[in-house]
């Protein structure tokens, strides 16, 4: 391809929009073309400057009230933050056991089956179309605050890039009739969705691996939260992900 074409394509590379084949082709060209490589650098600097400048606006509270008032009823949000906090305290005390006891689940109740079905459906949905992430960034300090006010819980967001699991963003989803946070990771070409919902009880539950419709699902409960990690990576790697996440959450205890 000519430099003129590549100079358009490098914007797609910058925006993570190129498929693997074209990205490889363009990177090969960039390695031998100082002009195009320099151009990419300049646009990357400009993009970083734009994202660092915080160019968003916040809707005035009066506008939010006006819109809420215009809805047929004022919705009541049932938030029980105290329960979540209590869960965190209990979870911390129990998390030593968590990393040590990854067990394969054999017996499932019908209810578990249904929730796992939800998890698989949500995972598949996230891979179809263009809705893998609502907030797309590798920065855990961007993903975590993004969930503020959107959920009744504060999901822990960990950057596990150094451990081989790249954080690529977050998304709102729906699991077990509850809104759920999905924290999205990538392992090579495989997507891992980590769904986090508020736990119905705060009792700690060690990680359990299930295979549903060909997907591996790792479930555990800790810190008053339900965690479901799902991916098409192999069991071994998904367990490793669970361990790394648990270790990252309580570094002092593992």
């Amino acid at each position: 391809m000519s430099c003129a074409e590549n100079k358009v394509l490098l914007h797609a590379l910058l925006d993570n929009e190129l498929d693997a084949g074209h990205a490889r082709e363009l990177e090969t060209h960039l390695a031998i073309c100082p002009g195009c490589a320099a151009e990419l650098r300049v646009y990357r600097i400009m993009q970083e400057a734009i994202s660092a400048a915080d160019l968003r606006f916040t809707a005035p509270a009066s506008l939010r009230r006006r819109i809420e008032a215009a809805l047929p009823t004022t919705p009541q949000r049932t938030t029980n933050r105290r329960a979540v906090l209590k869960g965190f305290v209990m979870g911390t005390a129990l998390s030593t056991a968590m990393a040590a006891s990854l067990v394969i689940g054999i017996i499932r109740t019908d209810n578990d089956q249904r929730v796992l079905g939800d998890v698989v459906a949500a995972h598949v949905r996230s891979l179809q179309g263009e809705h893998l992430t609502d907030v797309q960034t590798s920065d855990q300090h961007t993903v975590k605050p993004w969930f503020n006010g959107k959920l009744d819980l504060a999901p822990p967001v960990l950057d596990l890039t150094a451990q081989g699991f790249t954080l690529i963003g977050g998304r709102l989803d729906y699991i077990d009739e509850k809104t759920a946070a999905s924290i999205v990771y990538r392992r090579r070409k495989h997507v891992i969705n980590l769904f986090v919902t508020q736990a119905s009880d705060a009792e700690y539950q060690p990680a359990k691996l299930n295979t549903v419709q060909g997907y591996n699902v790792l479930h555990w409960r800790a810190h008053g939260l339900e965690f479901f990690a799902i991916s098409d990576i192999n069991e071994e790697e998904l367990r490793e992900f669970g361990k790394k996440f648990a270790a990252g959450l309580d570094p002092a205890r593992t």
């Binding site: 100079k7 914007h11 100082p34 400057a49 160019l55 968003r56 606006f57 809707a59 215009a70 459906a121």
Partner: protein
Amino acid sequence: MMLERAHHQAVAQAAKPELRLVTGKDGSEHDRAQRFHDAALPYLDDVYTLARYLLRNKADAEDATQECYLRALRHFDTYRGPAMKPWLFAILRNICRSEFARRAGNSVNIDEQAEPDEDAIPLWQEAQISPEETVLKRWDADTIRRLLAQLPAAFHETIVLREINELSYSQIAEVVGVPVGTVMSRLARARGMLRQAWIAEDGTRS
């Protein structure tokens, strides 16, 4: 047992958001409003931000945002997803365009404005500045907004949707109603023009 399983399946079906969203006629008005609230209100800042960039005026942006949510609620039954944010943006964009048309007193819209530019400016025009010699300053938010505002409308909206509202190319294509390839070439051109303005800004200050 079978009944119980059937019940679980029914619950699981109902739990899928895209199915819930279209069952408005069966649910009560309150349920519908609640679902709309949960699905659409998290994007209020996004919608307001886009309105501020498209209309460049605080009061108009507030009115357009409110109108956007009222229209979205009215059409909520036809919402099929998958993503709420681009859907709201498409509604907002229509509102902003008719507002522009009203202000201009005719039917000029930003798509029509964009056409002559797209043929007239070669894609690689910006490469005349040697990138190696270019050092980009980190301008503050107000300066960057002013530089963005100088771009022709079609390029301005594309780069705002990408860099500030963080939509993917296909979502931008959906909102603006152009092919993905056009999104990419507009973005390339928008960034080229922005870079020139960015560098020229340094000249005006020194």
